[in-house]
Each structure stands twice: as C-alpha cells, then as structure tokens.
C-alpha cells in the first residue's frame, strides 16, 4: 500500500483539527457541547461563497487564482468575511439563545437548544441555497508529485493555514491577559466577577474566537471539496471525536486529535472503502471512552 493515505489523512486531519479546535474551545470556555458548530462552519462556507460571487464579478483582478492554487484574492477576502460573519452569528446566538440557558443549573439545556439551532440553521441554509453543492472556483488544483505521493497546492495551503491559525489561537489564549481572563471566567464565573472580570464579555470574546475558527473551517472544507448546507454537520462527529481524543478543552489536544482522526479515516478509506469513513470517528470515540476518557492531554475526568 502506498503512503498516499498518510498525506491525505494529514490534510483532512488539519481541517478536522480546525473544527475540533472550535468545539473544544466552546467546551472549555462556555461549558457545553455545541451541536450547532457544524452549521457555524457551513455558514462560513456560504459567506465566503457569497463574497467570491460579489467581488469576483465586480473586481476581475480579485477573481484570478493566486499562484498555483485555485484560491482567488476574492476568496481571501471571503475568508475574512466568513470569520467575522460567523463570529457575529455566534454572538447573536449567545445573546438570544445560549446566554440564559448556560446559566441554568441543568447545563444540558444549552446542549439541547444547540441541537435545535443546528437543525434550524441548516434548514435556513437549505432554503436559501438549496442542498446542491457549490464551488469557490471552476478551476482544478493540479497535484504536485514528490516521491510517489501527491498533494495539490490547495491542500497544502489549507493545511498550513489550519495549523498556523490553531497555533496562533493557542498562543494568544495561553499567554495573554484575555486568554487568562477567559479561562478564569469559564472555571469560576462568580470568583472571576469579584476579581473584576466582566464574565459576559469573556463569553462573547470566546464566541468571537469560536466563530472565527468555524468560519475559516468552512472555507477550508469548501476549498478542498464542496460548499453544502450539511458540509459541517457531516463532520461534527469527527470534530467531537478529535476534541475528546485530545482532551476536551485543550487546543493542542484538538490539533493532535484532529490529525489522528484524519489519518484513521484516511486509512479506513484506503482499506475498507470510502463508505465507512463516517464510522471511523465513532470507533475512535468508543475506544477513547473505554480506554482513556480524559483524552490524551486532558486531566482525568
């Protein structure tokens, strides 16, 4: 068997890591499993698509692909729009749905609401854009071949961006005043408040970071594949699995977890067939729960 599956797995894994990073951050800072993360991702995909449609038509120079990739200048702008737009969407959800539910003793009602939000957002996307797939570019990214393995410039760009973004978020949250305050507010809101931290604002800041990650995740998936209303929801299970595998709440954990799940999926596809890709994550999830419920980097629960 060729080692091509390793490359494919690492590339897919970097995208999963990006999604898992959003899930794990929501869990760490907002204290619940957010089942609508997939729809935040899809919203990012469509926001970038709309931007490409508008800008690419209006400013032809922006429509052209950059270097060997199929990514256009318009899509780069679209990525920013996706990040900012999804952050705004997440803030709206926090304001009108999650804020009050998170405060409840029965924490699961926020999870339940996120389930409803997920269905509703996906239905809205379907209604607005239909469920047929869309693409950022008509062009094909031509694979580069080195030593018998292939990767397209698009794939390399996406993987590098994903890793860089995760690393940046990790550094900022780990070593900045904002990150410390966010962690403090998540752990003990009452103590944070009497320390002088505006806990509500920290939650909003967390949603902004989560929205940013989700928006970029959507663009990443769209560049490598298709833009569809279910593009994020289909990956929710791998996102969660990667986050749990790495240890819920840990960004480096999400990165490693994402890569491992990506590699496992790719291996399963290479050996068992592509229809079983979706089951791989669940098998890993089951194994983690059985063997090491705290994940690789998490504290034992």
């Amino acid at each position: 068997m060729s080692v091509q599956w390793l490359i494919d797995g690492a590339i897919q894994g970097s995208v999963l890591a990006l999604g898992a990073g959003g899930v794990t951050l929501t869990y760490a800072n907002l204290r619940f499993g957010h089942f609508a993360h997939g729809e935040l991702v899809a919203a990012g995909g469509y926001l970038a698509l709309a931007t490409v449609g508008l800008l690419g038509g209006a400013v032809p120079a922006l429509g052209a692909a950059l270097g060997p990739t199929t990514v256009s200048g318009a899509l780069l702008v679209g990525t920013l729009v996706a990040g900012a737009g999804v952050a705004a969407l997440a803030l709206l959800l926090e304001r009108f749905v999650y804020r009050r539910l998170r405060a409840r003793a029965a924490g699961i009602s926020a999870v339940m609401a996120s389930f409803g939000v997920s269905m509703a957002l996906r239905a809205l996307l379907e209604s607005a854009f239909t469920s047929s797939p869309r693409y950022y570019s008509e062009e094909l990214s031509i694979a580069i071949e080195r030593g018998g393995v292939r990767a397209t410039p698009d794939q390399l760009l996406v993987a590098a961006t994903a890793l860089a973004l995760l690393l940046a978020v990790h550094l900022v949250l780990g070593h900045s005043r904002l990150g410390r305050s966010m962690r403090a507010a998540a752990e003990n809101p009452a103590l944070a408040a009497v320390t002088g931290i505006d806990v509500g604002r920290m939650a909003m800041a967390s949603w902004i970071v989560v929205g940013l990650l989700a928006g970029v995740t959507g663009v990443a998936i769209g560049v490598l594949g298709q833009v569809r209303p279910a593009m994020g929801a289909e990956l929710l299970l791998p996102f969660f699995t990667a986050a749990v595998l790495g240890g819920l709440g840990s960004l480096p954990g999400a990165l490693v977890g994402g890569l491992l799940v990506g590699l496992a999926e790719s291996w399963a596809v290479a050996t068992a067939g592509s229809e079983w890709r979706g089951a791989t994550a669940f098998v890993i999830f089951v194994a983690v729960l059985g063997l090491r419920p705290g994940g690789l980097f998490g504290r034992p629960a």
């Binding site: 005043r177 410390r180 305050s181 962690r183 403090a184 752990e187 003990n188 009452a190 103590l191 944070a192 408040a193 009497v194 320390t195 002088g196 931290i197 505006d198 806990v199």
Partner: protein, 242 residues
C-alpha cells in the same frame, strides 16, 4: 470617612425566605469589623450580597459614598470592593502565578507589582508560583486567596472565614497583616467563626443571627454583656452549674 455603608440589605436564594433580612453595616476607612454568628446565620450571604454575587432584593450598598447596589459584581470589584469567598476562592486550573497576575491586570497594575504584594504578605507562596492552584493544600490555598484580594488594593475588603483550616500561627500572622492594612486605611469586614480571634483584632463586632444583626459593639462591650459572653465566649453565667 465612611468606606462602606450598607442599609436595609435583604438578600437570599431562589428557594425559601431571604437569608439576610434588613442588615445595616457601616464601616469607616481604617476600621476593622468582625461579623460573627452561628452556622447558617447568613454571614456568607451578607458578604456575598455586598460583593454582588448574590442578588439583593432591597437595600443600599455604598462604597466611599458611591451607590454600587445596582452594579454587577465586576464593576463593584473595580470600584474598590475586594472579596475573598469562603470556598472556591482560587482558580484551580490556573497556576498560582496566573492567579496573582490576573488580579493585578484587572486592577490595572503591573504583573510584577502584584506578585511582589502577594509575596510580601505570604513569602511561603514563592516556591509554589508555578503550580496549578488546584493542587495546593487547604492552607496554601487560603493564603493565595487572601493574597489575590490584597493585590487589587481595595478600599473595602470582605473576607469570609479566611482562617478556616489554617494553623494558629498562620492565623495570627494573617490577622496581623489585615490589622496592619486597616491601620493604613483599609476598611476590613471579616467573617470569623473563631470568636476569640475576632475579638483580639476587631474594632467592632457584629453578631448576626437568623439574618439579622442582634448585637454590635466593641469587643470589650460585648464581652461585658453576660448573655453574650455565656453563649459565645464560654464564660460561665453567674450561678450556672459548672
């Protein structure tokens, strides 16, 4: 000058009757007030309500004349109201250093100054700076919690049984530190189970029973009250069987 002025404070939890029913508490700058009372009297609820962690349903809370009663807890903290809760009073997942730095940052002070203040009060925290606060022993944790509150340089400091679980010499040093801070103008409200310790440091003692202030006065005057002395100081009532 009046540092803290609480008038007619009523506060409690969703379930049941209010735990604090119309408490008045006035503390001058530099004054050291001890709040004592039986378990469940509402002492913690009183200081929590002043700090803004438990909502007050009636009453006024003023710090240096400014009405804080309607402000969220974090604004009160920034306006000079310090609070050391009875439990869960450090961030377990953050390192000791981060715990200290966080308060300094929130108070707009340099991180180094914050650590200096903390180590000045409790030098024994120095070797622990790198550890997660969650692994500290009970006594170490209490010291970190008090150190955190000192860094912000509050006008009014509320402490909810900070001496619980500390060895007697450490308690003595803690109380001496608070006494010294009061001498520099800090208004201290100390909730304390150990009545003797409270009497030793406080300028004034408030006795809280069932959410109401039953007695208040200087330690000397309270000690002279035979009913109080019998109940809280273990002084035998004249004529009672030994």
């Amino acid at each position: 000058m009046t540092a803290l002025e609480v008038r007619g404070l009523v506060a409690g939890y969703e379930s049941g009757a209010p735990a604090v029913r119309g408490v008045d508490l006035v503390v001058r700058a530099g004054e050291f007030v001890a709040v004592i009372g039986p378990n469940g009297a509402g002492k913690s609820t009183l200081v929590r309500a002043i700090a803004g962690v438990v909502p007050a349903s009636a009453g006024e809370i003023r710090v240096a004349g400014q009405d804080l009663g309607k402000l969220p807890a974090y604004r009160r903290a920034r306006l000079g109201l310090g609070f050391v809760p009875q439990t869960e009073n450090v961030f377990a997942a953050l390192s000791v250093r981060e715990n200290l730095v966080l308060v300094a940052e929130c108070a707009g002070r340099p991180a180094a100054a914050g650590i200096e203040v903390a180590l000045g009060a409790f030098p024994e925290l120095a070797p622990l700076l790198g550890r997660p606060a969650g692994v500290l022993s009970g006594g170490e944790r209490q010291r970190l919690a008090v150190a955190r509150a000192l860094i912000a340089q509050p006008r009014v400091l509320l402490l909810d049984e900070p001496s619980a679980g500390l060895a007697p010499p450490v308690v003595e040093r803690l109380l001496a530190t608070l006494r010294a801070l009061a001498a520099e103008g800090l208004a201290v409200v100390l909730v304390e189970q150990n009545v003797r310790a409270a009497f030793a440091v406080a300028d004034r003692v408030e006795l809280l029973v069932a959410g109401e202030c039953r007695l208040a006065g200087s330690p000397a005057s309270l000690a002279a009250d035979p009913a109080f002395a019998a109940h809280y100081l273990g002084v035998p009532r004249p004529g009672a069987p030994a």
